[in-house]
Amino acid sequence: MTITINAEATEIPDDTSVTELLKLHEVKMPEMVSIELNGEILERDKYESTQLSNGDSVELLYFMGGGAIGI
């Protein structure tokens, strides 16, 4: 199925959970990303139980610090 990740169409297997998507997308530090699914921020404890559907739009919003250290 096709979903949109950060505005780019991406093919992923059917029945992918948000937790699995983070692995597929090689997000090394899931703690450093907030996820918006179809316009709503997804609570962290729902990543495992949330299955993605064809046409979903996912935004990976990274935690970013400020000017001195950078993170």
């Binding site: 505005a7 400020g66 000017g67 001195a68 250290i69």
Partner: protein, 270 residues
């Protein structure tokens, strides 16, 4: 307030803008902006705010200028090494524009001083380098009811959003709570392109100016993401979250408290 002849000349390119004019310039001269951090973001933001004639600029930072700062923290120069950043930044801002009253706080913003300081300002530019401070600033601005600009930069990427407390989505609507300290990579792993800090800091200054003027549309309910390598700007719509721990229907955070510091293992990287 009446503009002097010198001010009319200094700010002539502002005054020519129909959205700004001499009335807008007078608003800027009466405006008060607090910079959290005089680093990569606070430097360009503060310099443009000073040049713009924002009448009161507060700057809070506990650090001194380090050689590794100078690649991006342009309010400081080589002779400023080892000086408190607030002193060096204040000198730069005053030299650019003597109209500006610079108030310095050589301290960290913490739960015990945040509200007292923030209450004296109309807008806060958050250029903090660490998450405990960023969350503390978001909380304090919420309780003080002061609008703020969040921004972050990392490697070739930057992000920013503006928050008007109780009106627009807040920092915690998007990021909820600080990441666990062990998830934050060491300083040595994270670099940042200096000019990227300039772009993002100037966006923050622009938001501060618009907020003071009451002109245009602030970057509220949107997170702007800038990818310098691809030269791409993109905004993601963000909505207020009913479960937000700060501004949601049943808030968990009811006062400003200090969060645990994410430990940075490379002091020289600051």
């Amino acid at each position: 307030m009446n503009l002097s002849d010198e001010q009319i000349e200094r700010y002539s390119r502002h005054i020519l803008l129909p959205e700004l004019g001499s009335a807008g310039q007078e608003k800027l001269l009466a405006g008060r902006v607090l910079l959290i951090g005089a680093g990569g973001l606070g430097s360009p933001a503060g310099m443009y705010l000073a040049a713009a004639g924002v009448g009161t600029i507060g700057v809070i930072d506990s650090d001194v200028v380090d050689l590794s700062n100078l690649q991006r923290q342009i309010a400081h120069a080589t002779p400023d090494l080892n000086r408190p950043k607030v002193e060096s930044a204040a000198e730069t801002f005053k030299a650019m524009n003597p109209d500006v009253n610079v108030r310095t706080y050589h301290a960290r913003i913490m739960a015990d001083n945040a509200l007292d300081i923030i209450n004296d300002y109309d807008f806060v530019v958050d250029g903090a380098d660490n998450f405990p401070t960023k969350f503390l600033v978001a909380d304090a601005c919420h309780f003080a009811d002061v609008a703020y600009s969040h921004a972050g930069i990392l490697r070739f990427q930057g992000q920013t959003m503006t928050v008007v407390p109780n009106e627009s989505a807040c920092y915690r609507c998007v990021f909820n709570s600080p990441p666990p300290p062990n998830a934050v990579p060491s300083c040595s792993q994270a670099g940042v392109l200096g000019a990227l800090a300039g772009v993002v800091g100037c966006l923050q200054a622009t938001e501060a100016i618009k907020s003071i003027l009451g002109t245009g549309d602030l970057l509220t309910n949107r997170l702007l993401m800038y990818d310098a390598l691809k030269l791409n700007f993109r905004t993601v719509s963000i909505s207020r979250q009913s479960k937000c721990p700060l501004c949601g229907e049943n808030p968990i955070i009811t006062e400003v408290v200090d969060a645990e510091e994410a430990v940075c293992d490379l002091a020289a990287g600051r």
